[in-house]
Symmetry: C2
Subunit: 375 residues, 2 copies
């Protein structure tokens, strides 16, 4: 059996939280291969009489219908980036007790947050707000494949709510909003020729020197939005060009990823990028707007206060792009709140303290049940 395509995953969502976390991590679910994990999550949720469950592809939505005045959406993605080589799964636990740390793919991004929401979805039969629990696929790949985006297109009513919490890694603090992301292809063209007579052609790779020079010289902004500081970035993420070992190439393409502060609309980000690469062919291949922090919403302030009571940590800016932007677009204020250091997301040495998972579980549980957060 190919370990990256488990046939069947079994999850016990009523037992020990950390055992559940390990089981969720140890079921590899690289983008496009989430089905086995999604099946397991669906089985667990369909076993809960207090939840209405709907599945769309490998996304699952489970809702309470308690007639509460407010509805909160809690969402997380099932997929991870590819494993390392050799594979960084199954997970490995280092240390003990409060110092224990779990190592492996997904421990940070974002099977900790996912585990917290799965455990609470099963446990909380009577929360003080109605809750919509969303588990979705294809977050780590092109925006057009994103399972949350697909849910918005197929079942927008399922994502309605007064506030949303996304379980992306935040070191168990609240991170508000997110930067936008724009991907463009900057292409240089030339004239192919035999490399024995390069003067008969024009080398498109040489012409890309200017594209890379502008990237290398680019000074990224730091932007204060509603008191949170977002740091931008303009990065080449791919370059390709070349026909054969003896041919002057007539085409070279640099893929650039611009991460922009949420004070900037998507079209402004596109204009800014086109200006930077003025004189070159620029094609937008992928784009998603940022999200302003959204901490002025009453439920957001209430949740932030609850978390701060438990952890002493104030909200900060989210530097990565996350799907809170999709909720922002739907008019639902949303924050990130999940275990793990976001700087370790996608890294070979991805690892997360057990205590982060317990903290997030306790804070979210307390707030959703109306108990004082420090109880």
């Amino acid at each position: 059996m190919d370990s990256s395509h488990p046939d069947t995953v079994e999850l016990d969502a009523t037992g020990d939280l950390i055992d559940l976390w390990r089981a969720v991590c140890d079921a590899p679910s690289v983008s496009g291969d989430e089905t086995a994990l999604a099946d397991a999550v669906e089985r667990v949720l369909r076993g809960c009489a207090h939840l209405e469950v709907l599945r769309d592809g490998d996304a699952i939505v489970a809702r309470t219908h308690l007639g509460r005045p407010h509805r909160v959406v809690v969402a997380g993605h099932l997929d991870t980036v590819p494993l390392t080589d050799p594979p960084n799964l199954p997970t490995r636990m280092e240390g003990e007790g409060e110092d224990a740390v779990l190592w492996g793919r997904g421990t940070v991004d974002m099977k900790g947050g996912l585990t917290v929401q799965l455990a609470l979805a099963v446990e909380l039969t009577d929360p003080v707000v109605d809750v919509t629990w969303v588990f979705y696929d294809h977050e780590e790949v092109e925006a057009e494949l994103n399972g949350l985006g697909r849910l918005v297109r197929h079942h927008p009513e399922l994502l309605h709510g007064d506030f949303a919490i996304l379980g992306e890694a935040t070191n168990a603090g609240i991170e508000g909003g997110c930067k936008g992301t724009l991907r463009v292809e900057v292409t240089t063209t030339g004239v192919a020729a035999h490399s024995g007579r390069p003067w008969m052609g024009t080398n498109a790779i040489h012409a890309a020197a200017e594209v890379l020079a502008r990237l290398d010289a680019y000074e990224a902004r730091e932007v204060d939005v509603e008191g949170l500081v977002y740091r931008e970035g303009m990065s080449a993420v791919r370059i390709s060009g070349g026909i054969a070992g003896n041919v002057v190439p007539d085409r070279c393409t640099v893929t650039v990823n611009y991460r922009f502060a949420p004070d900037k609309a998507l079209d402004e980000a596109i204009s800014h990028t086109r200006e930077l690469f003025d004189g070159f062919d620029v094609v937008v291949t992928d784009a998603a707007p940022g999200a302003r922090p959204g901490l002025d919403a009453p439920l957001a302030q209430d949740f932030a206060a609850a978390v701060e009571r438990l952890t002493g940590v104030e909200p900060a800016a989210k530097q990565g792009w996350t799907d809170v932007a999709r909720f922002s677009t739907l008019g639902v204020p949303a924050v990130n709140f999940g275990p793990g250091d976001p700087l370790l997301a996608h890294k070979d040495d991805e690892h997360c303290p057990v205590s982060d998972v317990r903290t997030c579980h306790a804070a979210l549980r307390a707030w959703l049940t109306g108990a004082p957060a420090d109880a």
Copy 2:
């Protein structure tokens, strides 16, 4: 049947020269797929009582043993670069009579020269010199696969001679020597990070800006060697870097092809290239020395005079790398002499005048039979 892999090729080497040329061109033989054409050439040569024939892989050597005081090697490669899309075969004839031009892959590089040597190998049962006719594979790919190089390793004695003529395209004039070719990979390294937090990493593609800037600013030399002017070239032929659309890449590789004048030894060319990319990781992946013109050899001078009598054209420098360098390394003076404009080699619009093929055939036939070249 896949037209790029003909099962059987039939050649009539005793009929019309231009019909033979078309048949040779219309048998696709992209590097690695030369077998069908090699089989056909072998069958033709084995039908000649005056030739001793040996085959090694898809290379064929056919020799006369007439006890002449001198031996001349006439060589050409069977393979071509890939066809265009849609394919530029079968060939298409445009114009008529002396103005006719044949279009399609291989018409220039180098099935014209190959046809001339095949026709003469069959016809010339009694040349004034002993002749070694060499047909070989894998010229258009990495040097280590080159069929002539393999013959040198397996059967060096078969390539001995006092003079060699390679039928590469020269517009039916003599082109002396050839430039050397060196291929290196220049690699930049960095530190991978999520592109949402690029300041946590170091972008290897941005670091390649300096590599491309040096290439773009490079001023190639023109070098006079024994009266022939060689023009050098330093070209990026490939660039690649990138891990995923949201990852700052930790590695970027530029493949550079240096074509250097034959006044420079291979190790000097390597030193020059390392100096140009000082500060970067440089790995040599492919290298072949150049060849000085070699026109001081008596047989070379005699052949040059014969060609000049027929065409009025003096010898010039060969700008491309050709396998004359392999003969040069063996101590056999060698020149290029073949139909077609070398500037059209590997081009989508490859085409060659019928008159070039007839001229090369007439000049080589006249010289090998001792008849006055303008007879």
